[in-house]
């Protein structure tokens, strides 16, 4: 069973309590009407899909109900860290170095 820790509850819970909610840190353009179709499509649909560490949104649906961000390794499914909404994205390269130690 995959355990995910929730930064709001401060506890680890089974994955079944959570829902994945797509890539994190994608800001909605301030003025959508000024964008070209290509730029809008880029915002709407294009995601990084990396092999390795990725910043994702998750929601503790069957718990506190809050969205939070997590850094997950897409290869091993390991959650490297979780952090609250509004907090800065951690330096992924730094995390990789720490994970290797």
């Amino acid at each position: 069973m995959l355990l995910i820790s929730c930064p709001y509850c401060g506890v680890e819970r089974p994955e079944i309590e959570f829902r994945h909610a797509g890539e994190a840190h994608i800001a909605r353009p301030a003025e959508p009407s000024k964008l070209t179709d290509e730029e809008w499509a880029e915002y709407l649909y294009m995601r990084t899909n990396p092999k390795g560490l990725m910043a994702e949104r998750w929601r503790h649906t069957h718990g506190c109900g809050r969205f939070f961000n997590a850094i997950r390794d897409t290869v091993s499914d390991k959650f490297v860290t979780v952090y609250k909404m509004g907090e800065a994205k951690p330096d992924l390269d730094q995390l990789l170095v720490e994970a290797a130690q």
Partner: protein, 188 residues
């Protein structure tokens, strides 16, 4: 130390499970409010109902007449024993008049079960995947979680007493799974 409890078994109904090691009873009707808002709203609502709402994650405050459960950073479940739900709602709503909030009367949305006895945690563990050791789930802790596929609110009132709240449409599912697990307990 057991917490004080607003929940009492409904004397008009037969217990759902009554064995030597575990007992499950439906709780008598109560007033329930769902409160969403910031800490200011929590403080004003607390004054109106007579307890200070818990701000620490997964904690509760309980007296004989009122219980306040932390469900999220901006969400509380208030359970109150009182004859007049409408007057109580008006009182809390008035106290919150100048604070951004959402207060909803959900008294009829939920039903509650009281699960007690030496094997209460064992019975719950048939469907709830949490560690009920006192160190990780102490008395007074409350959480929303899953019971099988049904979302529940789970509160540990005493070392061997738990209270489950679930939506009333989920309750037959929860009760039948508890009964099934209790048959296994009897057979063991």
């Amino acid at each position: 130390m057991p917490e004080k409890s607003v929940y009492s078994a409904n004397a008009d109904l037969a217990p759902i499970i009554a064995t030597s090691r575990v007992r499950v009873a439906e709780a008598a009707p109560l007033i329930r409010f769902s409160l969403r808002g910031g800490e200011a709203a929590a403080s004003h609502a607390g004054t109106a109902v007579g307890v200070s709402l818990p701000l620490e994650p997964l904690t509760s405050i309980a007296t004989d007449k009122v219980a306040a459960f932390w469900l999220g950073p901006d969400e509380w479940n208030l359970v109150i024993q009182d004859d007049d739900a409408r007057a109580m709602f008006e009182r809390v709503e008035t106290a919150l008049a100048d604070t951004p909030h959402s207060l909803v009367d959900v008294s009829d949305r939920n039903r509650a079960l009281i699960i007690s006895g030496r094997k209460a945690a064992w019975l719950l563990n048939s469907q709830v995947f949490l560690d009920f050791d006192e160190a990780s789930f102490p008395v007074g802790m409350v959480t929303r979680t899953l019971f099988g596929k049904a979302e529940i609110m789970l509160w540990r009132q005493a070392e061997d007493t738990f209270v489950i709240e679930a939506w009333r449409s989920f309750m037959p599912y929860v009760i039948e799974l508890l009964q099934e697990a209790s048959r296994e307990l009897e057979a063991a």
